[in-house]
């Protein structure tokens, strides 16, 4: 029916060590929504960067409108009608919506920008596509959903006929995701052809017409979305049968809370109270999930619990004792374990070995050290690491490999191995699967649930609602630094929780 607008023929991209794309043939038809599904490292982003002119393919050709093209920079791709919305937005925070949209293609004769025309054009464009936006707002004052809208407008302003969206829903709330899907369908109806890169199966099912599955740099298959189930997609993507939702057994939590927070107040770096009046408790043997849109105080809360940020008011009680004035080290030694959201900055010392990373925190005591922490015992560390590498199935050349050489999923397993084997009484887990693929997520989720079943109190902070629902027994909604709603996980759904995540207000209309 439809004719192809974009084709790749035998695209190969060889990096010094990895073959990122191996003989990729795909076709995008005029006016369709195509998904490119694959795990991290499957070569999705590389392929898109080849299409967008950021990378030069090692071999193979790109055919646009039946004509062979060669892009040496994004400029060429833009000129030929390709637009790309990157996963990390390419927007300048301090500039206005208009300035960001026109950047690089400013109207006006001579050196000066014609701001009046620019504003007018942006207004017209946003009205034509039903993407309402204030052209004079600064990017830093916009929500993530609106920022994405600016990114799309930016591509449309350059007359993109083909729009590539890289992990577009990773940062959106459920409401924003639905709005986004509506926008994408609207664009398709206006004749824009769309490629969505994703590792989320729901997304593929919800929006696409057709899907290509990428694994280890090769195309594993091509399906019409209507004819394929989520399970089949997952199996194609991972290359083996995977469990999408880890089985959660019934487990009775104990009564006496292991961790209590009362009326907590925490200031951020600008001295603004970003956690304000927050109270919660966690009992042994339950997972309490904190749902919320990013930037509602999640990181400050986690830092306050671990003593990485001072508390401005309220109390933190572990096993009935106030730990507010304890140092981080003292808290760790009270058997409070922590899996930080940013594993590179806080979870690991990347140039250190796996063994050293596992010993860290307890590096000053037996068996890792002797003589009151004066002498490190490397052979004991190595022995311990070797055991845990096996137990946690960490894929590493060995205990002496630097942590930086491991993949994201395996790095996270190193942190899990360290934190989960210290016999914790309370476990704070923040964004445990961010950026990881289905296989690793499955493993980490089952480990967290195993901790719960051993009567550890788990506080889970996550931006992924799916994760919260998969793991939590109770769900607390965090909004502007306080818990605005509490749910029993089995008695609610994503829509209801999502509603409170945005402050319980009516969603903005598109």
């Amino acid at each position: 029916m439809a004719q192809p607008i974009l084709e790749t023929r035998h695209i190969v991209k060889q990096f010094p060590k990895v073959l990122a794309n191996d003989d990729i043939n795909l076709t995008l038809n005029q006016g369709e929504i195509l998904c490119l599904l694959g795990e991290n490292g499957a070569g999705k982003s590389t392929l898109m960067n080849v299409l967008y002119g950021l990378y030069k393919p090692t071999s193979g050709t790109i055919v646009l409108d039946g004509e062979e093209v060669e892009f040496s920079s994004p400029r060429d791709a833009i000129d030929r009608g390709l637009g790309m919305v990157h996963q990390h937005f390419m927007l300048v925070d301090t500039l206005t919506v208009t300035e960001n949209i026109i950047l690089g293609s400013e109207p006006g004769r001579g050196p000066q920008i014609d701001y009046r025309t620019a504003r007018q054009q942006v207004k017209e464009l946003s009205e034509r596509h039903g993407l309402r936006i204030d052209p004079d707002a600064k990017i830093m004052n916009l929500s993530v959903g609106l920022q994405q809208r600016v990114e799309i407008l930016k591509a449309l302003y350059r007359q993109a006929k083909i729009l590539i969206l890289d992990e577009p829903t990773a940062v959106l709330t459920p409401q924003e995701v639905e709005e986004f899907f509506a926008v994408v369908r609207g664009l398709r109806d206006n004749g824009v052809s769309i490629i969505i890169i994703t590792h989320k199966l729901e997304e593929v099912k919800a929006i696409s017409d057709r899907v290509y599955i990428l694994r280890r740099g090769r195309i594993e298959g091509e399906r019409r979305t209507a004819d394929v189930s989520k399970e089949d997609l997952a199996n194609l993507m991972v290359g083996r049968a995977v469990v999408l939702t880890v089985e959660k057994s019934d487990h009775q939590a104990k009564q006496e809370p292991v961790f209590e927070i009362d009326d907590l107040r925490v200031l951020d770096d600008r001295e603004v109270a970003v956690v304000d009046g927050l109270s919660l408790d966690v009992r042994p043997g339950e997972v309490v999930g904190i749902a919320g849109v990013d930037g509602n105080g999640q990181s400050e809360l986690a830092e306050a619990i671990m003593g990485l940020r001072s508390v401005a008011g309220g109390s933190l009680k572990h096993l009935g004792e106030d730990i507010k004035d304890l140092t981080t080290k003292e808290r760790i030694h009270r058997r409070i374990s922590y899996v930080p959201a940013d594993r590179h900055r806080y979870g690991l010392v990347l140039p250190f070995t796996v063994a050293e990373n596992i010993a860290m925190g307890y590096h000053d005591r037996a068996p890792n050290a002797s003589g009151g922490g004066m002498r490190l015992n490397y052979s004991a560390m190595e022995e311990q690491a070797t055991r845990l590498i096996k137990d946690f199935d960490i894929r590493t050349p060995g205990p002496l490999a630097p942590a930086s050489h491991l993949s994201g999923g395996n790095q996270q397993k190193v942190i899990l191995a360290r934190e989960f084997t210290r016999n914790p009484s309370f476990l704070l887990v923040s964004q445990p699967t961010r950026g990881l693929d289905v296989g690793a997520i499955e493993y980490i989720h089952s480990q967290i649930l195993a901790m719960r079943d051993q009567d550890v109190g788990v506080l889970l902070i996550s931006l992924e609602l799916e994760e919260i629902f998969g793991l939590a027994d109770r769900i607390l909604v965090l909004y502007e630094g306080a818990i605005v709603k509490e749910f029993v996980a089995s008695e609610t759904d994503e829509r209801e929780v999502g509603f409170y995540m945005t402050g319980g207000k009516k969603e903005q209309s598109a």
Binding site: L54, P74, R75, M90, V92, L95, K154
Partner: protein, 316 residues
């Protein structure tokens, strides 16, 4: 003692003292807005001051001296651009090296060209010999002598402050420069070269810094003396920061330092207090520290200022 003439003299001295600082500061503003930290202004000014005196002395024409200073200031700054942008060297390290290099080159060339260290021979005609009183405007009380009865580079600095402000806020290139200092990848992905913008930003600071140097040697003086920049390049950094990385803010901050400088001379002459004169000499520098400490918290640098940018276009 404090009468009309005193005030007028003080204020026009303020403007004169502020000129080299303001020029260096607005040059640094463009440079840092493009994302390159530039602590090499001191060295660039030294090069400009030296070249201006030598060329003006040899040709007998201070205008040629000025052009040469601008040219060599720009050329010298390109070393910084090459080191930081193309070689991805740390910006502060490169800047520090250039400051030392400028001192070394000029003392070496003093011996080679002038034949002795210290001070060059006076230039036959300096730019200070051109004092342009602008008709009508210069006869306004106080403001007239302050702003409209000055020497050439002082006027150039006024013009450049306006031009740079317009450039950064209203032009296409200015928008690209700002984007390059805030979110370089955003600029690169819509097809504008960050490298070019950063080279451009550094070059502007070099050209203007060269002019600031020429002001010191052939406009407010008639010869080049080693060490004559006296830390003004660093005070310009302070002016840039206190002025919030904006040309007009930087100019106002430079005026403040100019005033401190003008005051310290007068304090020394009039012996207002029984304090050793050295105390007054350090006054502008102390004020620099105070101003930066007080204002720095509120002013926000460009987000990618000093952050290296490398295109991941791994060629195989």
């Amino acid at each position: 003692m404090v009468d009309y003439d005193f005030i007028v003299n003080l204020l026009s001295a303020m403007i004169r003292n502020a000129t080299p600082i303001a020029l260096a500061a607005i040059g640094a503003v463009v440079c840092e807005r493009s994302g390159v930290v530039n602590i090499a202004m001191e060295g660039i000014m030294t090069v400009g001051a030296f070249v201006a005196a030598i060329v003006a002395g040899a040709t007998g024409n201070p205008w040629i001296g000025l052009l040469a200073a601008i040219f060599f200031g720009g050329l010298f700054s390109l070393i910084h651009a090459f080191a930081t942008v193309s070689l991805h060297l740390d910006h502060v390290v490169s800047g520090a090296v250039l400051n030392v290099l400028a001192l070394g080159i000029t003392s070496y060339l003093m011996i080679m060209i002038v034949g002795h260290p210290g001070t060059t021979n006076p230039v036959p005609v300096g730019l200070g010999d051109y004092r342009w009183a602008i008709p009508v405007l210069s006869s306004i009380p106080v403001l007239g002598p302050m702003f409209f009865n000055q020497t050439p580079i002082v006027y150039f600095s006024f013009i450049l402050i306006g031009v740079f402000t317009w450039f950064l806020s209203k032009t296409k290139l200015g928008l690209h420069v700002r984007a390059s200092g805030e979110h370089p990848l955003a600029l690169e992905t819509i097809g504008v070269s960050v490298y070019k913008m950063r080279y451009f930003g550094v070059l502007v600071s070099g050209l203007v810094g060269g002019m600031a140097g020429a002001y010191l040697s052939i406009e407010s003086n008639v010869s080049f003396t080693e060490g004559m920049t006296g830390g003004r390049g660093f005070i310009a950094m302070a002016a840039m920061i206190s002025g919030g990385w904006h040309p007009i803010g930087a100019f106002i901050a430079a005026l403040f330092f100019g005033l401190a400088d003008a005051l310290q001379v007068r304090f020394q002459v009039f012996e207002i207090a029984r304090v050793p004169e050295e105390f007054f000499i350090i006054l502008p520098y102390v004020l620099t520290v105070v101003a930066v400490a007080g204002l720095v918290r509120r002013s926000r640098p460009p987000k990618a200022d000093g952050v290296d940018f490398m295109i991941e276009r791994s060629e195989d």
